[in-house]
C-alpha cells in the first residue's frame, strides 16, 4: 500500500473516501456510456441524422433553463443530499422514458431520454465537483483530482469497449434498465457514505451559516451573475475573443455532429456498438492528453502556444472530413468533438482564464460556459436548418468554421499575453496562485520576464521574498536562471536566506541548483549557510555521504545555530556515533552551563534514538532545572516505545518518578510514556493519575485508560469507591467511555453531584454577599464563582464521555451566548441529552435575568439545596476538603467578619481580658466566648490542626476579631506588619485580585503568583525608580502613598498620587523598555512587588497561567486600541478610498 500511496500521491486516510468516489464514478460512467450511446444510436438510426438537430436545439434551450433551477437549489440543500436527489431524478427520467417507449415510438422516447439526460448529466457533473470538494480539503482535492479523473475515464473506456458485447445480446430497453440499476447503486453509495466514513469532514450545510465568523460575500443571483459576466466580457479583449472562439467552436461542433452521423449511421448495423468503441477511444485519448500531453506542452511551449494545438488539429480533421467523407474521417470527426476537445480545450481554457483578475473570473467563466456555449449550439442548429439539405454547403461551412476558429485562437493568444502583462503592471498576482484541481501553472516567457523585472525592482525584503516565491512557483526549472543571480545580488543576508528557503521549498532540481547551494555554504552569514545546507538536504537526501561530510564540517561552525543544525542532521542519519567530532561536540553541549544549549543537545539525543542516547536522556530526567527535565521527557515521549530491550524497565522506572513533577507538562509527558507500555504493571500508576489537579494531565490519563479498554475496567471500577471525588468522577468517565451501556448511568450521577455542589456554592455566595466589604469575603466569593465555572466545565466534560464531544462543545459555547435564542437552543439540546430538570439546572446558571434568589429556589425545588446562614456557611467553607488554600481563606473570612457575627447572649466578651491577651509575648489569643458556638468549634479545630499554617491563620483570625471588637483593627494590622515582613498568601491574593490586571486570573493561578510576591516597607522620600531605569517590577501600594512624577529639565511635575490598593509599573512585567516616569514615596508605605522573572518561570510550569496572562494582555491591547481609536479622526468612507488611491 505504501508504494501505491507514493506513486499516486495519496494519503492513507484518504483511500476510503477515494474508493467510494471511484465506485460511484465507474458505475455511473459505465452505465452512462452504455445507455447514452444505445439511445443515441437508436434514434439516429430510426429517425435519421436530422434528429441530431432536434437534440441540439432542445438540449441547449433546456440547459439554459436548467441553470436557473440548479442555482436556486445549490446553496440551500446539504451537498450530500442534493447529489443523491440528483441521482434519484435521473432514475425518474429513465423510468418515464421506458414507460413512454411502450406508448409512443421507441425512437422518439429515446430522443427525449437523451435530451433530458444531457441536461441531467450537466447537473450531475456540477454537483459531483462540489461533492468531491466537500469530502477533501483543497490540498488533498488537488492531489486526488487526477485519480478521480482517471476513474471517470476508466468508466468511459470500459463502457465503450463492452457496449458491442451488450448490444448483440440485449435490447436497447434492457440496457436502459441496466443504467437505472447503476444509478441505484450510486445512489445507495452516496446515501450511506457519511455513515461509513468515520472522521470525515462534515458535509457542509451551506444553508446553516449561523455563527460563522467570516464575512460572506453576498451571493449574487444567477441573472445578476450573467449580467456581470456579459459586462466583463464586453470590456476585456481576452474574454471577448474567448467568447467568440467558444461560439464558433460550438456551432462547428453541432454541424460536425450532424455530418458524421449522416456518414456513419447507414454504414453500421450495430451503430450503438460502434459508437461505444469510438467513445472508448475518445476516453483513452483524452486521458493520455490530460496526464502526459498538456503538462508537457505547457511547460515547453507555454500556454499561449499550446492554445493553438487543438484548433490546428481540428482544422486538419474538419478539412479531411469535408474533403474526403469516409468512415475514417468521420470517426476522426467524432474524436475531435469528444476526446480531443475535452482533453485539450477545456484544460487550456481554464488556464487562459488565469489571465482574468480573480474577482471577475468566476462570473466570466459562468457566463461563457452557461450562456455562450448553448448560444453557439443554437447558432449551429440555425446553420443546419439553412444548409442541412445541401451537403456541399455543409461541407464548406465545416471547413470554413474550423479555419475561422483557428484564426480566433491566434487572436486569443495575442490577447492573453496582453492581459497577463496588464495584470502584472497592476500588481495583481492573484492569477499566479493557481487554484482548485489544476496542477498546471502558467510558465510564459512573457510572464517570467515581467516578474523578473519586478523582482529586480523590489526594494523591500518582503517584496523580494514574495516575488521569489511567485517566480519559483510559476517558472519551474526556467525560474533558476532568474533566481540565482537575484539571490547573489540580494544585499541583506536574511533576504538571501529566505530566498534560498523559497527555492528549496519549490523543490527545484538539477546541477545548477546544487552549485548554488554549495556557493552559499561559505556565505559570511550563518542564516544563509544554514538555508543552503537545508536546501542541499532537500536536494540530495540525508543519506548522501557527501552531504554528511559537509555536515560534519559544519559541526565546528562558529555559529551555534549552524553547529546545532549539523548535529540534528547527523542525528537523523541513523549512524550518529560513527562521527567522532559530532559526538564530542554533543558531549560538550550536554556538559556546558548554558540551559539553552543543553536543551538543544538533549533534543539531538532524542533524534539519535540509539540505546546509548536514550540512556543519556534518562539521566536528564532527574535534572533540577524544569526546562531540562521537560526537554528530556518530551523527547522520550516522541520515541516509539517499548523498545523491547532491557532499557525498557529503566525507562519505566525513571519516568514513574516524574508523575509527581511540579511541571504539569512533564507529568503529562510522563503519563504518555508510561501509557505506551501496555503492561498490567503500569495500570495502577495510570489510574492514580486520574487525581491530578491539572485538567490536561487528568484528561490525558483518561484517554490513555480508555485506549487500554476493557482490561482496565475492574481497576477503574474499584476506584468508584474512592473518597477522592475527582478520582471517582474520572473513573466514571473512563468506564462509561469504555462501555457506555453498562456504565453510562455513572455519568448522570456525577453530573447531578456537580450540580448539587454548584447550587450549594450559590447558597454560600448568598450568605456571604452581605459582608463583601471585606477583602477576604470578596476573594471567597470570587473563589466560589470560579469553582462553579470549573464544575460546569466538568459537567460538559462528563457528558462528553457518553455523547458526541463536538455537540457538547457547541452547547457550551451557545450557553455563553448573549442572545436568548441561542441559549434556548442550547437548553433544548441539553434536554435531549439529559433530563429536562438537569438541563434547566444547567441552563439557568447562564441566564443573566435569573436573580440569585431565583436560582436558590430552583436549587431548593429540584435538588433540595437549603439556603444556609452565615454561620453555617463558614462552617461549610472550613470543612470543605478542596484545598488548604480554601481552608485558610475561610479562616480569614472568620477573622474579618467575626466581630459582625450575631453574639451569643450571656457570654459577652471581656475586653480587658482580650487586651491583656494581645500584649502577652506569645501573642496568642483565646477564643472569644461571645462567638457563635459553631464558629468557636471551627476555630478550635483549626487551632488544633496539625498544619502550622492553619494554626497561624486561626490565631490571626482570633486577633483580628478581638482587635475589631476594640475598634482598633488598623493598629493590629500595622503592628502585625512591623513584626513580620511578609503577609499571608490569602491577603496577597486579595490584593492582586483588586488590581485590574489580575482580576480575571483565577484564584488557583493567583495563589502561585502570590507566592512569588514580596513586600517592602518604604520610608517617605524614597525614590522607588526613576525615569530611564530598566524595570521589571509591578508595584502595588498596600498602604501608604506614592507619587508618580515626570522629570523635566527644571524639576519634576507630579502626575498622579496613588493611595491604598493602587498599582503602577505593570507594563514592566512584560516589557523591558525603560521607565518613562519616576515614582517617589510620599508617606511611609507598605508596597507589594511582583517581579517579572519568577512569574515567567512559573508560566513554564503552568501553561494555563501563560494563557491567562495572554488574555490579560489581549484585554489591555483592546483598551489601548480603543483609546487610540478615540483620538483618530473620522471621515466618510469615500474620502478614505480617495486617500487609498493616492497613498
Amino acid at each position: 500500500m505504501n508504494w501505491l500511496n507514493k506513486i499516486l500521491n495519496v494519503r492513507s486516510n484518504e483511500w476510503s473516501r477515494l474508493l467510494f468516489i471511484a465506485v460511484i464514478l465507474i458505475f455511473s460512467n459505465v452505465g452512462t456510456t452504455w445507455a447514452m450511446n444505445t439511445a443515441y444510436a437508436a434514434f439516429v438510426k430510426e429517425v435519421g441524422a436530422q434528429s441530431v438537430i432536434w437534440v441540439q436545439l432542445l438540449s441547449s434551450i433546456l440547459s439554459i433553463l436548467f441553470m436557473f433551477v440548479y442555482t436556486a437549489f445549490v446553496d440551500r440543500v446539504d451537498n450530500n443530499r442534493l447529489f443523491a436527489y440528483i441521482i434519484a431524478i435521473g432514475v425518474v427520467i429513465k423510468l418515464i422514458s421506458i414507460t413512454l417507449a411502450g406508448v409512443i415510438s421507441p425512437a422518439w422516447a429515446f430522443l427525449g431520454l437523451y435530451v433530458l439526460s444531457m441536461v441531467w448529466l450537466a447537473a450531475w457533473g456540477a454537483q459531483f465537483a462540489t461533492y468531491v470538494n466537500d469530502l477533501f480539503d483543497i490540498q488533498s482535492a488537488k492531489r486526488t483530482w487526477p485519480i478521480i479523473l482517471a476513474a471517470a475515464s476508466i468508466g468511459g473506456i470500459t463502457g465503450g469497449f463492452t457496449l458491442q458485447f451488450l448490444t448483440t445480446r440485449l435490447s436497447p430497453l434492457s440496457i436502459i434498465w441496466i443504467w437505472v440499476l447503476t444509478d441505484v447503486v450510486a445512489f445507495g453509495v452516496v446515501w450511506v457514505m457519511p455513515i461509513f466514513i468515520k472522521g470525515h469532514k462534515k458535509f457542509s450545510k451551506t444553508g446553516v451559516k449561523s455563527g460563522k465568523p467570516f464575512a460572506q460575500n453576498e451571493e449574487t443571483s444567477y441573472l445578476q451573475g450573467m449580467k456581470d459576466g456579459l459586462g466583463f466580457t464586453l470590456q476585456s479583449g481576452l474574454l471577448r475573443w474567448m467568447a467568440i472562439g467558444t461560439l464558433i467552436l460550438m456551432a462547428l461542433m453541432s454541424l460536425l455532429e450532424y455530418y458524421y452521423n449522416l456518414i456513419l449511421a447507414p454504414q453500421f448495423d450495430d451503430y450503438a456498438g460502434f459508437l461505444g468503441k469510438l467513445e472508448g477511444v475518445s476516453s483513452i485519448i483524452s486521458l493520455l492528453i490530460l496526464f502526459f500531453g498538456i503538462g508537457w506542452m505547457t511547460r515547453s511551449w507555454g500556454v499561449k502556444d499550446t492554445n493553438l494545438v487543438y484548433p490546428t488539429l481540428n482544422l486538419l480533421i474538419c478539412g479531411g472530413v469535408a474533403g474526403f467523407p469516409t468512415a475514417l474521417t468521420a470517426s476522426l470527426a467524432f474524436i475531435t468533438r469528444k476526446g480531443l476537445r475535452s482533453g485539450f480545450q477545456e484544460t487550456i481554457d481554464a488556464l487562459l482564464f488565469n489571465a482574468v483578475p480573480l474577482r471577475i473570473k468566476g462570473r466570466a467563466r459562468a457566463f461563457v460556459g452557461g450562456m455562450i456555449t448553448p448560444l453557439g449550439t443554437l447558432t449551429g442548429v440555425f446553420l443546419l436548418w439553412v444548409l442541412g439539405e445541401t451537403i456541399g454547403l455543409l461541407r464548406g461551412a465545416i471547413a470554413l468554421l474550423a479555419l475561422i476558429y483557428l484564426v480566433s485562437a491566434f487572436v486569443t493568444r495575442h490577447q492573453y499575453t496582453q492581459a497577463l502583462v496588464k495584470m502584472l503592471e497592476e500588481e495583481d498576482y492573484s492569477f499566479l496562485l493557481s487554484e482548485g484541481a489544476s496542477n498546471l501553472s502558467v510558465a510564459d516567457p512573457a510572464t517570467l520576464s515581467r516578474l523578473q523585472k519586478k523582482l529586480e525592482e523590489s526594494a523591500s525584503h518582503e517584496m523580494r521574498i514574495f516575488m521569489t516565491q511567485l517566480i519559483a512557483q510559476v517558472g519551474g526549472a526556467e525560474s533558476l536562471s532568474i533566481l540565482i543571480p537575484a539571490i547573489k545580488a540580494a544585499p541583506e543576508p536574511r533576504t538571501r536566506a529566505s530566498m534560498l528557503d523559497v527555492v528549496s521549498a519549490a523543490g527545484l532540481r538539477g546541477g545548477k541548483i546544487r552549485e548554488l547551494y554549495v556557493d552559499f555554504l561559505t556565505d559570511p552569514d550563518a542564516q544563509v549557510r544554514q538555508a543552503a545546507a537545508s536546501g542541499l538536504e532537500q536536494l540530495l537526501g540525508a543519506k548522501d555521504p557527501w552531504l554528511q561530510e559537509q555536515w560534519l564540517n559544519m559541526v565546528g561552525d562558529s555559529d551555534s545555530h549552524i553547529s546545532l543544525y549539523a548535529l540534528q542532521s547527523l542525528a537523523g542519519t541513523g549512524g550518529f556515533y560513527k562521527f567522532e567530532p559530532a559526538t564530542q561536540k554533543l558531549d560538550q553541549l550536554l556538559q556546558g552551563d548554558s540551559i539553552e544549549d543543553k536543551r538543544n543537545a538533549i533534543d539531538v539525543l532524542g533524534m539519535i534514538a540509539h540505546p546509548k542516547s536514550i540512556e543519556r536522556l534518562l539521566f536528564f530526567l532527574e535534572d533540577v532545572n524544569d526546562q531540562i527535565r521537560l526537554a528530556a521527557i518530551l523527547d522520550l515521549e516522541k520515541l516509539a516505545l517499548p523498545l523491547g530491550s532491557a532499557l525498557d524497565t529503566k525507562i519505566l522506572e525513571k519516568t514513574q518518578s516524574l508523575l509527581h513533577d511540579p511541571v504539569a507538562r512533564v507529568r503529562q509527558a510522563a503519563l504518555q510514556v508510561i501509557g505506551k507500555f501496555k503492561d498490567k504493571k503500569v495500570y495502577p500508576l495510570l489510574v492514580s493519575a486520574l487525581a491530578d489537579k491539572n485538567s490536561q494531565v487528568c484528561s490525558t490519563a483518561v484517554n490513555i485508560l480508555v485506549a487500554i479498554g476493557r482490561d482496565i475496567a475492574p481497576m477503574a471500577q474499584a476506584e468508584l469507591n474512592s473518597t477522592n471525588s475527582q478520582i471517582h468522577k474520572m473513573a466514571a468517565v473512563v468506564l462509561s467511555r469504555i462501555n457506555p451501556r453498562q456504565f453510562g448511568s455513572l455519568i448522570d450521577k456525577s453530573v447531578s453531584n456537580n450540580l448539587n455542589n454548584i447550587y450549594q456554592n450559590i447558597s454560600l455566595e448568598q450568605a456571604l454577599t452581605p459582608y463583601n466589604k471585606y477583602y477576604s469575603v470578596r476573594v471567597q466569593l470570587a473563589a466560589l464563582r470560579e469553582g462553579n465555572d470549573n464544575l460546569i466545565d466538568e459537567i460538559l466534560y462528563l457528558l462528553s464521555a457518553i455523547h458526541d464531544p463536538q455537540i457538547l462543545n457547541v452547547i457550551g459555547e451557545s450557553l455563553h451566548s448573549d442572545s436568548p435564542e441561542t441559549r434556548n437552543l442550547a437548553l433544548e439540546a441539553l434536554e435531549s441529552l439529559t433530563s429536562p430538570q438537569t438541563a434547566a439546572l444547567i441552563a439557568s446558571l447562564f441566564e443573566p435575568s435569573m436573580a440569585p434568589m431565583q436560582l436558590l429556589e430552583l436549587g431548593h425545588g429540584t435538588l433540595n439545596v437549603e439556603q444556609v446562614n452565615i454561620v453555617q456557611a463558614l462552617e461549610k467553607l472550613f470543612s470543605s476538603t478542596n484545598s488548604r488554600l480554601f481552608n485558610l481563606l475561610a479562616l480569614h473570612v472568620v477573622g474579618d467578619i467575626g466581630a459582625d457575627l450575631p453574639k451569643t447572649p450571656n457570654q459577652q466578651g471581656d475586653i480587658n481580658r482580650l487586651l491583656e491577651a494581645l500584649e502577652t509575648p506569645s501573642g496568642k489569643v483565646d477564643i472569644d466566648p461571645a462567638l457563635p458556638m459553631e464558629v468557636r468549634s471551627l476555630l478550635e479545630k483549626a487551632l488544633n490542626n496539625s498544619d502550622l499554617l492553619i494554626q497561624q491563620a486561626a490565631q490571626a483570625a482570633l486577633q483580628k476579631i478581638s482587635g475589631s471588637r476594640l475598634g482598633d483593627v488598623e493598629d493590629v494590622v500595622l503592628k502585625d506588619r512591623e513584626e513580620s515582613k511578609e503577609i499571608s498568601v490569602i491577603e496577597r491574593i486579595s490584593i492582586l485580585k483588586e488590581v485590574p490586571f489580575f482580576r480575571d486570573i483565577p484564584i488557583s493561578q493567583l495563589e502561585n503568583l502570590a507566592m512569588m510576591c514580596k513586600e517592602k516597607k518604604y520610608r517617605k522620600g524614597t525614590r522607588i525608580f526613576k525615569t530611564g531605569d530598566l524595570g521589571e517590577t509591578l508595584y502595588i501600594v498596600v498602604e501608604g502613598q506614592v507619587g508618580i512624577e515626570q522629570e523635566k529639565r527644571g524639576g519634576a511635575t507630579l502626575l498622579a498620587t496613588l493611595g491604598n490598593n493602587s498599582y503602577f509599573g505593570e507594563m514592566s512585567l512584560f516589557d523591558k523598555s525603560p521607565r518613562s516616569t519616576s515614582a517617589v514615596v510620599l508617606k511611609d508605605s507598605f508596597i507589594m512587588e511582583v517581579n517579572r522573572a519568577p512569574i515567567f518561570a512559573l508560566t513554564m510550569q503552568n501553561p494555563d497561567l501563560a494563557l491567562e496572562l495572554i488574555n490579560v494582555l489581549s484585554q489591555r491591547i483592546r483598551e489601548t486600541s480603543d483609546r487610540l481609536a478615540d483620538t483618530a479622526r473620522s471621515r466618510p468612507r469615500e474620502l478614505h478610498k480617495l486617500f487609498d488611491q493616492f497613498g
Binding site: L433, A1106, I1110
Partner: protein, 163 residues
Amino acid sequence: MLSTIDRIIFLKEVPFFHGMTIEQLKILAALCEERLFEKDAHIFNNGDPGGVLYVVVNGRVGIEQEKRAGSFARLADVDAYSYFGEANFFDNNPHSTSAVAVRDTLILQLRREPVIELARQNPNLALELINVLSERLRENNSRISELTRSQPDKLDKLYNAFG
C-alpha cells in the same frame, strides 16, 4: 492556492510567528485557511466574534471604526506580512472595529483553538506569544504617549487609566 511549504515560509516572515519552530508552523500552516477578499469586502464587522487571526499575504486591509453614521476613522493599514485581529484572538471577544479590504487581498486566517493547544503543549511558545502581544501593547502605549505629548494635562488622565 499556497502549498503548506509556501505557507510555512510565509508565516516565518510574520512577526507573530517568529517564536515558533518549523514543526509548529507546519501544524498551523496545514490548519490555516486561505481567503480572497475583493476590494471593499468586509473581513469582519464591528460586533463579530473574534477568535481568528488574519495574516495578509498580499493586498492591504484598513482597520476602521464608525464614529458617526457614515463617518469612519481609519485606525491602521495592514500590509503584506502583517497581521490583525490579535487583540480578540485569544479570548473570542467581539470586535469593536471593522476590517475592510482596501485592495483585492489574499488572507490566511487561523482559528484560535489550535494555537492555544500548541501553547499549552509548549510552554516556551506561550512565553513567545506573550512577548509578541507585549510588543503590540507597547506600540499602542507609545503611540498614545506620542499623541498626548503636546497635551500634558491629558497625560495625567491617561496615566491613571493605564498605570
